[in-house]
Amino acid sequence: MTVTESAPAAHVGSRRLRKEDPALLTGEAKFIDDLDLPGAVWVGVVRSTEAHARIVNIDGSAALAIDGVNEVLTGEDLAPLWGEGALPCAWPVTSDMKTPTHLPVARGTAKYVGDAVAVVLADSRYAAADGAAAVVVDYEPLDAVVEIADAVADGAPLVHPDLETNECYTWGLWGDNAAAVDAAFASADHVVTEQYLQQRLIPAPMEPRGCAAVPSPAGGELTLYSATQIPHILKVMTSVVLGIGENKLRVVAPSVGGGFGCKLNVYAEEILCCALAQQRGAPVRWTEGRAEAAVSTIQGRGQVQHIELAADAEGRLQAVRVKLLADMGAYLQLVTPGVPLLGGFLYHGCYHIPNYIFECKAVFTNRVPTDAYRGAGRPEATYAIERAMDSLAAAVGVAPEEIRSRNFIKAEDFPYESPPGLVFDSGDYHAVLDKAVSLANVAGRRAQAAQRRAAGSTKRIGVGFSSYVEMCGLAPSRVLASLAYGAGGWEAATVRISPTCKVQVVTGSTPHGQGHETCWSMIVADKLGVDPDDVEVLHSDTAVSPTGLDTYGSRSLSVGGTAVFMAADKVIDKARAIAAHQLEANEDDLEFSGGVFRVRGTPEAEVPLAGVAFAAFTAHDLPEGMEPNLEAHVTYDPPNFTFPNGTHIAVVEVDTETGNVELIDYVAVDDCGVQINPLIVEGQVHGGILQGAAQALYEDAVYNSDGQLVTANLADYLVPSAVEAPRYRLESHVSPSPTNPMGVKGVGEAGTIASAPAVMNAVVDALRDLGVNNVEMPASPQTVWKAISSAQGGAS
């Protein structure tokens, strides 16, 4: 047989088209609402129309008169289904954190617009919707806490009177450093004090949520189908909340149309459907509507950020002091309290800073709970430090790139221990910045901007920078323990080789748009010397993949992908022992490449992996004591986070007459470590940049003073389309992470983390000579125009 020599990385690094796409593009993929469940009971949820109100009476008679509506159940009626069980929060960040009891359907009092107050059971989705609309709820309105500042105001109404406070917790980092920080501020040449508002965002994945619980009549088993990012965690939590044995519960995530963190949760409807399905012995299902999603699914961000920088005369940072007020909403969902902490370690950005102090006070408001949303804490942190760095640059009188360059952690300082005690793995921030400056032609843009200013043009050019570092690859389990997170951060993988040498990968990482199947196939194909199309990847079903911790926090590749990589290695080790037996050679004398074991120095002595696989299957002649078959399982717990980084440069044109902002150029240089598939990396960066730019320019979950969400549809909540996307110009810098064997870091959140401050810095850069030093997000035309008018002393 002839052996073709193949490079060690035949597939990794190539722009391979995604194997997921044909099913998605042809409509063959099945999403939650595509499930055909004859005889299913449809749930319609009656949601509070009041931000805070006592539920006086619920009248279901009109609903029950509708054909196909069978029952109307209140929180009181349903209470026996969950007893003392409540929706779980898995992140008690402090020992004295206040945790309100969060029932799937409220009893007595509704705490936010969207809070479930009753459910309708019906024969169809249509009847369920008609029924839910026909239930009449009599409310006695109570004073509501709407804005974050209202929560801590004197005499503020209480969201949860039984907790006697609106404060959920106060969490600090490096509090014993306070004196040193104060001293640094006292002796600083430049002090920058800024306050920023992180508006609430609606995640709005293409597919809203939905779930279906299907009981098995004979054995008492229950299968929960859900549009979730976390089937494994959902299984454990559902089991705990409802007291269903884990051995009786299976959770399946069908094709899932995006999540951005909002499907990293355990929701009322999931618990409700499971409990009712168990009670009724029939499938029970619910599909979320788009407008419903705006008030029933978690929202992102929601912080008031206070950041201060102390610097010497040259702008070298001496200290950073940060105080946050973080909006939890009315209840704590799965990881609500932990989100600000994920940013808490990173408010010093990419900069070497001797002194750092961070404090977050979390508060309850009468709004839908917040939780993880793409970037989760890190976009907020990056926003604050990167906006403040531009203010510092202005104060010192140097360019934004110069202030960054003066303060960057140097390439030779990696691994770098950060002030709060993280160890940054690798990077060259200066090289990345230089590449971005050159790609964006910053000098040329500035000349153009100066020309326009000189000519009195109403079309101002602004150039905005954002250099970021994020902690990804959640996470080392021991670190999570120190943060009081309720789970570990490992990931599991199994690699099996079939008798005919096809490969099955089972991953605990749960894709919902990322391209796991393609990337895991490429990794394994290179390892084993097989074609990626000969690799199948199984996931998202706890019966098939019983062990896993799912997908969030840019962890899939660096944790889950590493587990796959290591499981492939483990299979090769076993195959090597069999090959050595077949070739009557010493294992140490074998080399494996291109799918063939060879005895070094004896070219004709070789056996392909296929031969080994078949031998392992027949088990006719295996080494003494060896188990048949080729299969290996690995659970990988990362020793550290990974730290992707980069510099993004946004160029905007601001129309000073109308306030309109147009993104005319966007350059991103990202270091996400080694790239498995650059096509997928670029897709993540493109989408991420637009999602961050959306926070900067378009998206805002606006509540009126009564606590009504007034942007509950996609006409008023402005998710940008492809037309609004900038021209992306991407380059990368690769500094392999030493934390894992592939040198990968993760890229799912990078774009979103970087882009909002880049865009906002560009807007301010365009207007700074007009006296504008800050513009709040989103920089809508009206907001920008008013900022200009008020800086010019005019009426706004």
Binding site: R125, R290, V702, V723, E724, P781, W785
Partner: protein
């Protein structure tokens, strides 16, 4: 996002549609492109008992030029207007405004008659036909009548159209004067926050989303007619108006935008 239950009737002809309207009274709504009506039904802001689908009346889908007038069938799609070479020549403003409505999906379904009958003050095409001095032909049980566009719109989503009338044709004078349409919005697919249509070299000017109806900017037209500069004429664009306040713009900002956009539109239409 699920509409209340409704009956659905397919109209075989305009006469049939009108008889169905007469039969069902104010319970009935005409369905053409559906891109305004159906979202309102899904939000349950509208709950008609009967939908009369006129979308298949292809004999009302035409663009015909004769002498100085372009006659456009009410069921003509926005995309037909956008891509009609004849219209681009006879009345380029209308063709160009059609290309800015919503997104391609909306433009392939939405109809000129439908958007005029819907009478949304934030829509583009009603303001365009106003500026052009169009005539709207409506047919009811007693026959057809012609309504000047300037007399058509009476209030927020309201017009002089009776419950049992449907628009069959829109007649637009051919216009070779300077023209321009300024549409200001945040996303390409959105309604205008403010829009300004200028036709006939500046003597036809109308405003989008500056009140409860699409409206002629008479003060601007008069100023242009009397020889004022674009800047002078634009300065009175919001005079006497009480534009709405919403999430995108308060009343003052809308007035400011109307002035800026009117000046730009007049300039682009050749008024210096």
């Amino acid at each position: 996002m699920i509409p209340a239950a409704f009956d659905y009737k397919v109209a075989e002809s305009a006469e049939h549609a009108i008889s169905l309207l007469a039969e069902h009274g104010d319970e009935a709504k005409l369905l053409a492109g559906g891109h305004s009506l159906i979202p309102m039904m899904r939000f349950r802001l509208a709950a008609p008992g009967v939908l009369v689908d006129v979308g298949r009346l292809d004999d009302l889908r035409y663009i015909r030029r004769s002498n100085g007038t372009v006659a456009i069938g009410a069921l003509t799609r926005h995309s037909d207007l956008e891509h009609s070479a004849e219209l681009a020549q006879a009345c380029p403003m209308l063709s160009s405004v059609a290309a800015l409505v919503g997104d391609p999906a909306v433009r392939h379904r939405g109809t000129l008659g439908g958007t005029i009958a819907h009478a949304d003050p934030a829509s583009d095409l009603p303001a365009a036909v106003l500026a052009l001095g169009a005539t709207i032909v409506a047919r009811g049980p007693g026959g057809s009548r012609e309504i000047a566009a300037t007399n058509f719109f009476t209030g927020y989503f309201e017009s002089v159209l009776a419950d049992d009338e449907m628009i069959t044709e829109i007649r637009v004078p051919a216009d070779d004067g300077g023209w321009n349409y300024q549409k200001f919005n945040r996303r390409a697919q959105d309604w205008a926050i403010v829009g300004v249509a200028v036709a006939s070299g500046g003597t036809g000017v109308s405003l989008v989303n500056m009140g409860s109806t699409p409206m002629r900017a008479s003060a601007v037209e008069a100023a242009v007619y009397s020889g004022a500069s674009a800047a002078e004429a634009a300065a009175v664009a919001a005079e006497g108006l009480a534009p709405p306040t919403d999430l995108n713009a308060d009343s003052d900002y809308r007035s400011h935008l109307a002035r800026v956009l009117t000046r730009r539109a007049l300039n682009a239409a050749g008024v210096s």
